[in-house]
């Protein structure tokens, strides 16, 4: 593992805020709950739009309308998840930075999921206009669904491989 990354982890987990979270019985689970609350908004709204792109479920609300309606809370959820996630990470940064499941999650799966998510949000109006691109929309929806499932899988595997 790259020395500077480990050094950074060591520095981060010895910041007063990280030590305070680690040292308190209540702070750590509350930060965990914050991370999960943000993820509920982020993953819940993503899955709703992805399934709608896939054409699964009632057709009453088209994907674009759904994506627009959920847009603000989708990104609020992401913001909360990032803040909670960063605080959880800072508590034992050194360990996380040498964990293959964590590195895969943060270095590969999340960037891919995020990039695809932004593409979907930008392309949705175009996909709506022409029915011929529906296979692209389906593919994007299915891939995004799969990517976030992979992110959760990598997260669950962190203690298993550590």
């Amino acid at each position: 593992m790259d020395g500077s990354l480990v050094n950074f982890g060591h520095w981060l987990q010895n910041r007063p805020f990280a030590l305070a979270i680690a040292g308190s019985d209540w702070a750590y689970p509350i930060v965990q709950a914050t991370h999960f609350t943000g993820l509920s908004l982020w993953v819940g709204t993503n899955v709703a739009v992805d399934l709608s792109l896939l054409g699964v479920g009632k057709k009453s609300v088209p994907p674009l309308q759904l994506s627009d309606a959920l847009f603000v809370w989708n990104w609020i959820g992401f913001g909360i998840a990032v803040i909670g996630g960063f605080l959880l990470f800072s508590v034992s940064a050194e360990t996380y930075l040498s964990n293959i499941a964590f590195l895969t999650k943060l270095g590969m799966l999340i960037p891919l999921g995020l990039a695809l998510h932004i593409v979907i949000q930008r392309k949705a109006p175009m996909w709506e206009k022409s029915s011929q691109t529906s296979s692209a929309a389906k593919f994007a929806g299915f891939t995004e669904l799969l990517l976030w499932l992979c992110v959760v899988t990598a997260a669950v595997l962190i203690p298993y491989v550590g």
């Binding site: 993820l39 982020w42 819940g44 709703a48 627009d68 499932l149």
Partner: protein, 161 residues
């Protein structure tokens, strides 16, 4: 009596096998987390729509009807994976006070969901969402956040799970 049932569950060979093998145990966790995110996220969006904080241009009944199937499918997956994880350590959870709190909060949240689902089209026909509907939506959001907090407190404070 209940303790006997817990012991029987925990000693069941299928339940012991599924919790004792690392890849099936991890799979249970993955299903439990992912379905929890979809369940809570979708339900909170419906609650926020009742409060007028999400998609005001979107018809409330249509948005709710779009999300309710995912809410119930994810609840079923969440309950099933949760039950199998509980069964693997049933006698430990039997003595765990915070676990009872978690189950109680989740049950109340589900009751709130059912009421919202049944009343949604009626509320939607009114000129504005009634105050009682908004109150219920706030309570529902609070209960789901409470369920998540109770969920993380079970292992944090009692070491079970």
């Amino acid at each position: 009596m209940l303790l006997h049932l817990c012991r029987w569950l925990q000693d069941n060979s299928f339940i012991a096998a599924i919790n004792g093998t690392s890849w099936t145990a991890a799979a249970l966790e993955i299903v439990h987390y992912f379905s929890m995110f979809v369940l809570v996220g979708s339900m909170v969006i419906v609650d926020l729509r009742v409060l007028g904080l999400v998609g005001r241009r979107q018809d409330a009944t249509e948005l709710a009807d779009r999300l309710f199937p995912w809410i119930w499918i994810s609840f079923a997956l969440n309950f099933l994976s949760g039950f199998l994880m509980f069964a693997g350590l049933a006698t430990s959870y039997y003595r765990n006070d915070i676990f009872y709190d978690k189950v109680a909060v989740v049950l109340l949240a589900i009751v709130a969901n059912i009421i919202v689902q049944q009343k949604m089209s009626k509320w939607n026909r009114l000129p504005a969402m009634p105050a009682s509907a908004k109150l219920l939506a706030v309570v529902s959001i609070g209960l789901w956040i409470g369920a998540i907090i109770a969920g993380v407190e079970v292992p944090a404070l009692t070491g079970v799970g």
